[in-house]
């Protein structure tokens, strides 16, 4: 359904996308995972036909998005990162506009609004102005506006930013249903590691404009994840032997397949320094450790935002 090949995009001297390759099949959920600034929003914008890549090709249903993005827009549904809802209009009016723009009219539009409202549990609030809804409800309206025309490719750019747990759960359920029942291909960008497991998605790890790895959650953890023990000290940590990473002034991370033995070895080797030891954390192999292995850096969602460079 979606093909992205060798896509590059620069903003001045900043390389936002650096040779990105990606494919997403019908019914597949593809989670773009990476910290802010990884290039996720730029990639989603390029797929949606909003930002033209400097080079490379993007196809939707085997049709090239560029140079004529209108040719593929009928197939797309986009829910951008920032909330995009007309607060002074009712939920129904918000949905109707995007239905009409997609060419849905009359009774078909009425049915489409009812369907999408039911899917996202908005039926009871259809005639309320969006400004009177809670943040989570507005987020659901925001997502519903992208679904009204039943797109074949759904682009959700950090759809759960700032929402409560219940809303997040509903959105994830809806996304899974769309992929499973409707065969919708979903590109779901997020910087929340925990969300990816819940989606059952193919994971694409991005960092600094590049795709670092792609695969199922299990396969990525198998290939790149490592368990570790973290030692927290009162002040700068002493020298410790082993596969050590330090990215916090008081914390040392030792990669290991045998955490218990590592704890015993390190503590005995600390000698008099052990009085400064404040905590020991055992870290299971997970997506965070995958990211650490692939980038050499601990995963933090907010490394550097694209928005802060004015190019989100």
């Amino acid at each position: 359904m979606l093909g992205v090949e060798a896509v590059r995009k620069c903003y001045g001297s900043h390389q936002a996308l650096d040779g990105v390759d990606l494919t997403v099949e019908r019914g597949e959920i593809c989670a773009l995972l990476g910290p802010n600034g990884a290039g996720k929003t730029t990639l989603v914008s390029a797929i949606a036909g909003l930002r033209r890549p400097d080079s490379g090709t993007i196809t939707v249903d085997q049709r090239p998005v560029w140079p004529n993005p209108r040719s593929t827009r009928a197939l797309l549904g986009l829910a951008p990162q920032d909330l995009g809802v007309y607060l002074v209009l009712s939920v129904r009016e918000n949905l109707a506009l995007f239905g009409e723009l997609a060419g849905i009219k009359g009774q078909a539009l009425v049915r489409a609004i009812a369907d999408v409202a039911e899917n996202l549990e908005l039926t009871d609030m259809l005639d309320r102005q969006a400004r009177h809804l809670s943040g989570g409800e507005q987020r659901r309206v925001h997502t519903a506006m992208a679904l009204i025309h039943r797109p074949k490719l759904l682009l959700l750019d950090e759809p759960t930013t700032g929402v409560d747990v219940a809303t997040r759960g509903r959105l994830l359920d809806t996304v899974r249903r769309l992929a499973t029942n409707d065969g919708c291909a979903v590109v779901y960008s997020t910087h929340y590691l925990a969300e990816v497991a819940g989606l059952g998605a193919t994971v694409v790890i991005m960092d600094r404009g590049r795709v670092l790895a792609r695969g199922s959650l299990d396969s990525l953890i198998r290939q790149h994840g490592t368990a570790a023990v973290e030692f927290v000290f009162d002040g700068p940590p002493p020298a410790i032997n082993g596969n050590v990473t330090i990215d916090d002034p008081n914390r040392v991370r030792v990669a290991t397949t045998e955490p218990a033995a590592t704890v015993a070895n390190v503590v005995s080797a600390l000698g008099s320094e052990s009085v400064r030891l404040r905590a020991i954390d055992i870290v299971q192999a997970d997506l965070e450790s995958v990211f650490l292995t692939l980038t050499g850096r601990r995963y933090r969602a907010d490394y550097e935002t694209e928005a802060s460079r004015g190019d989100a």
Binding site: G49, R73, L78, L87, L89, L97, E100, L101, A102, M145
Partner: protein, 255 residues
Amino acid sequence: MSRIWSIGRHDLRVLRRDPAFLVIMIAMPLVMMLFFKNTFRLSLRAAGYAQASGVEQAVPGGVVMFSSFLMGNMAFSVFREHGYGTWDRLRASRASTGELLAGKCIVPIATLAVQTIVLFLAGAAFFGLRVRGSLAGLFLVSVAYWCCLTAIGLVLLAICRTIQQVNAAANVGGMVLSGLGGAFTPISDLPGWARTIAPGTPHYWAMRGYRSILLDNASIGAVLLPSMVLLVVSALLAGFAVYRFDAGDRKLSFA
């Protein structure tokens, strides 16, 4: 075409939720007419219109000046989309940029039409305005002027980065152009330098057309020149705006 109307209907819904600005832009010129009618009578009589009551300047002057305060509406409409975070959503829809802009022109033009019609009707009902020249001519000048103001709005959209820039340009520009165009006071009362540059403003041509109809009882033929000037200027401004406009520009706004 249906997508253009969808955008227009949508903007109308937004306007209906908060019509205060339009109401103010209709009420204020009515108040102005009340106060300035007598002053304009003296001025017009001094200019040789012995039968003038002053309303022949007060009504079109109010229309031309307060319409020009609405010239930023087209730009405001798009800036508002940026404020709501919906501009990129619209761009990602099946509507082309041309359809979006065309749709965004509908309500501003309709707003100008409502304002003009209400002010002329109120002028007739409350201030004794009589249109002795061609009604069709009056309509032609009005349509040409609405087109011109909307085209200026397009230019503001293309060149301004913040909604405050649009606001300032629409207000200051509206005042200056209206003053130069003879909306505050008859052209004959303007200083010499202002009379010289007045024809460079669309407002001058609108006032000239209206005065022909209202003071000189002219036929439609007499307003062809001002109307054509306004339409040509509209086309040039719209062409420049379309050339300059980048739909991907980030505009700073508030919803």
